[in-house]
């Protein structure tokens, strides 16, 4: 009986541990790929540290903006934006071109952005992105 309990305990512990590290691995993978997507598609305008450019290009450092607009971020990256955008109390009116990124890339780059430049959100999954993309205008 005792042996059985010990085996039980270890198998549960092992499952928990591996699932934990698997999640961790998934996050790291998304973050690393996301940093490459960022360098290729976003960095020229938004800067090495997501600092933006004066009143022309918004910074990517505003966690509150992300929280408020969480479900719109995937659409924003996919389709770009035009018209007024308020980020960190400042108004931005210039256009952002559509990115042409696939949902998997959007999830990766969102994972990167939302865990860089002072942000700490955790992984943004492809499922989440696909769901959000269905609601694009």
């Amino acid at each position: 009986m005792r042996a059985f309990l010990v085996i039980c305990f270890f198998s549960v512990a092992a499952t928990v541990l591996t699932s934990c590290s698997e999640q961790d691995l998934e996050y790291k993978r998304a973050y690393t790929n996301g940093s490459l997507v960022y360098q290729q598609h976003c960095q020229n305008c938004h800067g090495n540290d997501g600092e933006g450019l004066s009143a022309l290009i918004p910074p990517l450092t505003d966690s509150i903006y992300y929280k408020k607009n969480s479900a719109q971020l995937a659409c924003l990256i996919k389709n770009g934006s035009s018209g007024l955008m308020i980020v960190g109390d400042k108004a931005y009116t210039d256009k952002m071109p559509p990115s042409g990124l696939a949902p998997i890339e959007i999830s990766q780059v969102l994972t990167y952005i939302r865990n860089s430049f002072g942000n700490k959100h955790g992984i943004v999954s492809v499922d989440e992105v696909n769901k959000d993309l269905e609601g694009c205008n």
């Binding site: 305008c45 800067g47 450019l53 004066s54 009143a55």
Partner: protein, 211 residues
């Protein structure tokens, strides 16, 4: 004969090297040059004519006319860009903003950005762009002129500009309108080097224009 020409070249190259060595901090003068012989006060002297920026007449972001004469007495940096450029321009102007902020209060220094897309970049568009970038004076001019003239002028700055294409160089021009440096505007390290070179140029004794 051929040998003589080669020897001449070799001597010239060596001379160029050694003269550089003697003035280590001096910036090079780029472009073509030709010697001229003239008579001054009965004496025959030989002078060098350096390549200078050609004449131009463009409109700035305030709708004012700006010519090569407007820049007389200034050291300036020029680049070619367009406001809707999605790739290298934001990087160039993020770096140029540092140059602007470094020398804005100094005087006798200007930045000149020529748009290669005057159809879209009207005076009003350029003004909006400048203001949003944080430029509210005439120390950084955003100029627009005819496309052909802009492309032709780019050659005078020894850079490339054509339909929707321009390279990312910042060109440093001295008060005699000679090209003294060329820096990759997308590379922060090269832009820092340019900032140092501008200081060197500002400290250079005034030379009279040869021509």
């Amino acid at each position: 004969m051929k040998n003589l020409i080669y020897t001449c070249f070799a001597v010239l190259i060596l001379a160029a090297c050694s003269s550089n060595e003697s003035a280590k901090n001096a910036l090079p003068i780029y472009g073509n040059r030709e010697p001229v012989t003239k008579t001054v006060n009965g004496k025959t002297v030989t002078d060098t004519i350096y390549q200078t920026i050609p004449k131009f007449s463009f409109i700035d972001q305030y709708g004012d006319s700006i010519t090569n004469k407007s820049l007389d007495g200034n050291i300036y940096v020029a680049d070619f860009f367009f406001t809707s450029c999605p790739n290298i321009c934001p990087v160039m102007h993020r770096n140029m903003l540092k140059v602007y902020n470094t020398f804005n209060k100094v005087g006798d220094f200007k930045i000149v950005s020529y748009t290669i897309d005057p159809k879209h970049d009207s005076v009003n568009v350029l003004k909006q762009y400048a203001e949003k970038l944080g430029v509210k004076d005439k120390n950084w001019l955003f100029l627009q002129g005819k496309k052909d003239e802009t492309y032709k002028l780019a050659k005078g700055y020894m850079v490339q500009a054509r339909e929707n294409v321009h390279d990312g160089f910042f060109i440093l021009v001295d008060k005699q309108k000679r090209i003294r440096g060329s820096y990759l505007g997308t590379d922060p390290a090269q832009v820092d080097k340019m900032i140092e070179d501008i200081k060197t140029l500002q400290a250079e004794p005034q030379q009279h224009i040869a021509q």
